[in-house]
Symmetry: C2
Subunit: 276 residues, 2 copies
Amino acid sequence: MKKTAAVIGTGLIGGSIGKALLAGRSYSRVIGIGRNRAKLRLALKEKAVSSWSTDYSALKEADLVIVCTPVVHIENIFAKIGPSLKPGCIVTDAGSTKERIVKSSAKLPKGVFFVGSHPIAGSHKRGVGNADGRMFFGTLCIVTAAKGANSKAVNSVASLWKSLGCRVMFMSPSEHDRTLALTSHVPHFTASALVLAVLNGDKKRERVLGKGFLDTTRIAAGSPELWCEIASSNRKNIALGIDKVISALRKIKKNAGSRKLLPLLAKASKLRGKLK
Amino acid sequence: MKKTAAVIGTGLIGGSIGKALLAGRSYSRVIGIGRNRAKLRLALKEKAVSSWSTDYSALKEADLVIVCTPVVHIENIFAKIGPSLKPGCIVTDAGSTKERIVKSSAKLPKGVFFVGSHPIAGSHKRGVGNADGRMFFGTLCIVTAAKGANSKAVNSVASLWKSLGCRVMFMSPSEHDRTLALTSHVPHFTASALVLAVLNGDKKRERVLGKGFLDTTRIAAGSPELWCEIASSNRKNIALGIDKVISALRKIKKNAGSRKLLPLLAKASKLRGKLK
């Protein structure tokens, strides 16, 4: 029997998930839930959902609920949706940090199964108008279960992402946040810091910028609001990572002009050169 | 009457200059000077030079001498070539830092005109086998004259690079080194520091790396020897630039989790977003 899914937050990610589920075999219905009626109507028109509501009570028919709102809203949503959820339903999310979200899932009622997800896909584009059911093909999704999570629910969530085309990797919520701080968040803030250190509106200086600088700072052009939110939800790990970068910069500065710099740069060159 | 040029150091840059000059209208001969006979023979075979010598006395016929060796050797070369230079000849270089080189050009005899150059071209490839006379087309060359430099010589050197297809920008040697520290050297060392902070050979972590990290650290794979040399020849400006990056990183770390982060990230996003 085909099942019912609900997507809370029908932007680029929620809309893409909705389209993918409606194109697949397991779900006959995707209910879009949100606050903004115009956006929900657009999601319906774009065929990212099969119906919509501004009321959480519409969740009562859902076998699967995917929360795709900005990270800051997820905790509050968990606190509110409990009474509307069907016993046995599976809840997941698409937030880019996990420790706080998985912790706050304790607010969900017993008999409902939460497993965190972080699909590492996305685009500089936004909104359901850019949603694409094939957006997750070939991308990585990290699935993060709390200690003692129901293993059937963990497998269901992993299967969900696989059915959307993702490679799935399992991590604990804290391993996820430590890892992403280093592989994604700290690189972003390092690029921002480099821009702030180098650019001051001087046109002559801008004319000298080469491909190296442009590559190294490209991600700094990303959404300030989104990255503020990520900084807030993964503050401690990001602070530790920034300290590591500062310490490496200090070492390079201290050894500039000495042969001791060579093994440092050689190590960095070798580690980076091995990647594509 | 067609003139004679000499290129000291016939690698990728020296070889590309030689090819471009031999393809142009002003020079009938390009003499390659170096220490390694096999490399010089290859330069002749590749038509990057029209003759070669391991002896500086071959410089006596040159109207133009371009020093294309690694930066560390240039000072020593200036100290040695003086007796072989023709009175009135113009000497330039292709080194990527300028203050020390322009200062050490005082070792050249009176009656010989030195003007520094930094063609911002290049490639991860090396050697005269990869030399290309069109390599400089559309690239930037910064021409750096010492105070009181002969203006005819400055114009000749600027014309040389324009004839090779470069846009020419004039800077004082110290302005060049301050600017390049920020636009090129510090971005390189920041990318190296990020690699050293993030990568430790952990395969699981590597599987999570996205396009953002790969873009941000691409330049860190560059030649450790070359960048050691650059660090040594522009140490003070690089140290000042690294301090600026550290200070921006500290500010981001301090404000992570507060709304004060937003204007910082918004400024970086706007400054970077304006560039391509």
